[in-house]
Symmetry: D2
Amino acid sequence: MLNLNFHPAGRHFLQIPGPSPVPDRILRAISYPTIDHRGPEFGALGLKVLDGIKTIFKTEHPVVIYPASGTGAWEAALSNTLSPGDTVLMFETGHFATLWKKMAENLGIRPEFLGLPGVEGWRHGVQADMIEARLRADAAHAIKAVCVVHNETSTGVTSDIAAVRRAIDAAGHPALLLVDTISGLASADYCHDEWGVDVTVSGSQKGLMLPPGISFNAVSPRAIEASRSARLPRSFWGWNEIIEMNRTGYWPYTPSTNLLYGLSEALDMILEEGLDNVFARHQRLAEACRRAVRAWGLEIQCADPSVYSPVLTGVMMPDGVDADVVRRHIYERFNMSLGAGLGKVKGRMFRIGHLGDCNDLTLMATLAGCEMGLKISGVPVAASGTVAAMEYLAAHTVPLSLQAAA
Amino acid sequence: MLNLNFHPAGRHFLQIPGPSPVPDRILRAISYPTIDHRGPEFGALGLKVLDGIKTIFKTEHPVVIYPASGTGAWEAALSNTLSPGDTVLMFETGHFATLWKKMAENLGIRPEFLGLPGVEGWRHGVQADMIEARLRADAAHAIKAVCVVHNETSTGVTSDIAAVRRAIDAAGHPALLLVDTISGLASADYCHDEWGVDVTVSGSQKGLMLPPGISFNAVSPRAIEASRSARLPRSFWGWNEIIEMNRTGYWPYTPSTNLLYGLSEALDMILEEGLDNVFARHQRLAEACRRAVRAWGLEIQCADPSVYSPVLTGVMMPDGVDADVVRRHIYERFNMSLGAGLGKVKGRMFRIGHLGDCNDLTLMATLAGCEMGLKISGVPVAASGTVAAMEYLAAHTVPLSLQAAA
Amino acid sequence: MLNLNFHPAGRHFLQIPGPSPVPDRILRAISYPTIDHRGPEFGALGLKVLDGIKTIFKTEHPVVIYPASGTGAWEAALSNTLSPGDTVLMFETGHFATLWKKMAENLGIRPEFLGLPGVEGWRHGVQADMIEARLRADAAHAIKAVCVVHNETSTGVTSDIAAVRRAIDAAGHPALLLVDTISGLASADYCHDEWGVDVTVSGSQKGLMLPPGISFNAVSPRAIEASRSARLPRSFWGWNEIIEMNRTGYWPYTPSTNLLYGLSEALDMILEEGLDNVFARHQRLAEACRRAVRAWGLEIQCADPSVYSPVLTGVMMPDGVDADVVRRHIYERFNMSLGAGLGKVKGRMFRIGHLGDCNDLTLMATLAGCEMGLKISGVPVAASGTVAAMEYLAAHTVPLSLQAAA
Amino acid sequence: MLNLNFHPAGRHFLQIPGPSPVPDRILRAISYPTIDHRGPEFGALGLKVLDGIKTIFKTEHPVVIYPASGTGAWEAALSNTLSPGDTVLMFETGHFATLWKKMAENLGIRPEFLGLPGVEGWRHGVQADMIEARLRADAAHAIKAVCVVHNETSTGVTSDIAAVRRAIDAAGHPALLLVDTISGLASADYCHDEWGVDVTVSGSQKGLMLPPGISFNAVSPRAIEASRSARLPRSFWGWNEIIEMNRTGYWPYTPSTNLLYGLSEALDMILEEGLDNVFARHQRLAEACRRAVRAWGLEIQCADPSVYSPVLTGVMMPDGVDADVVRRHIYERFNMSLGAGLGKVKGRMFRIGHLGDCNDLTLMATLAGCEMGLKISGVPVAASGTVAAMEYLAAHTVPLSLQAAA
């Protein structure tokens, strides 16, 4: 392989909340020879993926695909819709919401950061009532956009996006709704059009099961309208020229051709399984994971069961335990990667990814690795989480004939 | 992918005792463009793999690599050393020993088939004393070869090859010693030279972690000597011309170039880990697997703990349970392949492969799949095998720094 | 890559008459993870390739696929149909016909070797009248089979197989007709059933564009009938058990799964292009190549234009020129592999492969490499062969819309 | 493959000036499973590529690698060093210089666009004396940067960057020097430090032989200094945080892991060949290509032999010939992609790429495709360009032993 250093025997278990394990079909697809992105064959590829990705976002409007990783798509959402000095309302649900706020500041936007106090904010989803109250108070409509994260990768908490839209509408406020579902798309149900989202930001290396490197902006007509007067300087991220050229399947500048091969394959895979089956599988695996955590006697980071993430589960450590030491033991002894606690919860929790190309036995391997790692690290464990997870899974199996799209 | 039918989401767990899961490094290696097997670049490849494979067989004598799957190497071992009507002594240790005997008959050899009675023979290894007794009785030296299987893929029982050699020597008998370690090589320790084996037969799709398609004959000087007078017709399998051309890294006919790429990579991988580490890893995983089986309250096919296979474990079902039904449930519900019971034990046991590119978490996934499958199939399970396996593994982990060759 | 030694920059041109360049689609296909060859998914693959390969041989009878390279399929054809000491009629058309005869001798068959005298025999195809005359003389029907090579890889000469069948029938002789089209299949038209062939031998690494490692026996009902009484010892090569298990898509022993993935893809590719288009493309490229050779003022090995091979062209060197020196210059200076002269014509000619995944520009690169190599080696060249080839190709282009199967 | 539409038989010839053909080694490397970009293994990869890429830019200062295609790196160069309303001096050498200017305008920069009049500007490199004169006139130092393109992909003309630096210095002007060598890097010699460049912009899909998707900013200490006061809004493109985290081999946000695998392999390949050998090979191929164009009696787009591009050659069509019709014939009949004329020269020329993984025979195939395509399109051709190219190449071959790094 790359010969960087020694690779332990056996498959590595990549159980972080993204990048998720890339399936063989997609790895083979991205390794086809690069073609001329101005030639006829490319146009057919472009049209296929541009059309297919709309199915995943559940939108009939354009989805812009950037040859850049997800952070770029955050910037694109802001710079296409806002002007220097604009005020936006952001909601602190975790580390990534905080990073997006920091980006807004870097770009000369003025974010107001709502949220529950302290760590509590990192254990709950967006509070739509707080948004509604704040918007009602903004009689002058100084707030140009509301920015929320649909699936907080740092905590394992989702947010109710439809409720945010209802809050905005209830306040009679014209603010745009910008949503990050980088780690939620294609794992958790998401309805760009139905939920009235103006810009949805997403990336490739999570539910879409691709390597990182491409990212998305799904845009509503209102967002496009807003982009006409938005004055943040932009060129690479500018929607207009891309959307215009996308009509024939091409891009104004060089796209990431090989990752688009992968996207084409990913779309085939997801639609072969069926979106609803994909979502149900994530829910099943997530519930089994939570049962394991509870059996261990540990606390789940997400304190509100109505917004548990189907993508990942945050596992809180007892006081005095350094979660990163546990993670290192698991990495070194069991060849598995878990997500670290970030920001406010650094060292206090770890994150188990159960998204994308994940199935029952992958999850069982993961939970076994955690359970052994906890023991080796001296963390007291009440009961076997693997046994609890197996009980749930065995009682909720799906026969092969029902695993594919009807 | 190949679009043959629907592929369930998530990685398939291929836990049969071969083909074992082929690591990504090897899959990439076999996908390099085929080269001219008469050109200079090929000669360098040929010399590398011909030299490297000797390290695995622990021999200083030639190892013949056939562009044919393992069954062919069985035929090669017989047809290079024997003449029509020759008597050979074979030992019934399971299904593959029986198939080799049938092949001998097909080729016009007269096999005598020793063995313990009934199913007992399939639960123990070769009984060297029975061989010694039989050879002592053969004063006329009518028996030309003793043929035994080192690791019975159908049962999970190994045989003590050094003891067979001692038995032959103790009897003062000139018979050749022919050994099949198709599923043992590179998983269980094997010493072609030290154990005095004349022909060792092996294949690619087990401990070597390659796809099936190439196979091996390691040959002693005595075996080569015997081939000079052996009169079974042979051409494709003939050693002489191959060994002669192998001196410069080439083959008399077309070799399986792309699988040789894979072999080159496999040798690198095994030697990076270190053969002793490879063997210790297999022993650890096998012991963990057996502890799981015992916890379930099920019987291990191998009745003699001194010859447990490090490659696979045969799991016997209680009376009245059809093992193939259990296997089908596991395949359809958990996307895992297990080995079927073969021949005398068809439907009465299944086989768990824990060889090649296997590590602790792969084994844990496998055991969890079995445990859930047993429950779904209504097989009573005394206690959690996964918990028992985790206890053992957690108590015997190997730190990353000790997992590579020194 | 494999790091065996230095790889010069740019793509290697593999212009030998096999292995032919393996297309990317096939290289990707063979790199999919190996599956259980006893599982349900494999059966679907098996049935697909076993059915598809019949289309290529143009037969409705079974085609046996061996996990062994082409030489093995030669042995299979003989050992399934003949008994020790049987007489067969073989025809010397070149090096591979000679090797097949040598194999027959190794197996205890008595080949009679017909042929035109000296090098002339290597410049013409099979002379059906000589076969007819010999068979007429065999009133006792001692001759059990007639064995001929359809496309002589060593010379670039094909043989008229239908004429051989007519000769056998005209002589009223019951001999079986065994044909090697290892390098002809899927490049030159071949009609197993219509031409009345009893066993057709072929391999993977030529017109089928696969790496070497699998090979074929297409068998007529008469051949199967003959196999019932044939007494050459056989086991691995035995048709019966394979054909029996193939009914459900499986093999009695381990097949070369990953090469079967490649075969599945190759069949898709060939049928997408359409067999007739494939044959026409080979004829066009071969004619362009011959025009280049004539322009250089060199002689084509094949002296009979009615049997020019569409697969390769043998190029004879002027007296005093060592063809292998020319080939070495071309390899070292232009990163291209050509076929060597073999046996009777060693050092006197080289062979240009233009088969499989070859198109106009690949051929032009090849001819340019030859032309420059000839000059560098001091071989006088009458005129530019590349110009002659371009004239022909430009006058006979096929628009994209006509390159695919209708 | 991707099954978008029919793929003609045989390899596609991708002879555009980028993306260049991606070698098999790199395609295999990018298809390895994605790893955790926060794990230990990634850090080793990061340090390797960050260090290696400096060798290619010939710099000892940081090179920032973006998970975004080349256009993004243009934006990064501007947004890190400039403030809204800043004046920059740009030089019109072709289509890409013009696009970069348009981007500057989009970002709120005021570009002054120097250049020779009409199409002449597109046939010559940067005129350093014009830059010097303009800078001397800028006594107030209103001009903050000079932006030039090193290798104009649209024309096949290079520019003398060292001369531009000398011009700036001669004028005693503090402007930064920003250079685009997206299509020059690793094909044409480039010396970031020695030439006194402040920001060099490059991309992956040209001389580095990677798919598109990652891009580069090599930055001087002065550029970093300038970034401290530059006030264009930036976040994703900001150098500081990236450079800071790169010290340990990591990125502040998600890098394009799989393309970094490819970069690691590309660096190995380039250094195995040796940078000087790479440059010499490009020069040799470019000269052979130009000899072909001259033999055809056609005009080379670049009118100044001292700045011929080693990367591509622009071929001008006679009056009345639509170059895009010629290109389409070549695409449809010969399965080869050529570059179109862009902007001012649309339809009047085509571009032949001879960069990256290109060797003598690839070039010969390309020239043969052009020569046949010209004839089919009715373009009068004076003499055979392929013959002219072969004469040059055969007289300037490099023996295998001299093709690798010493």
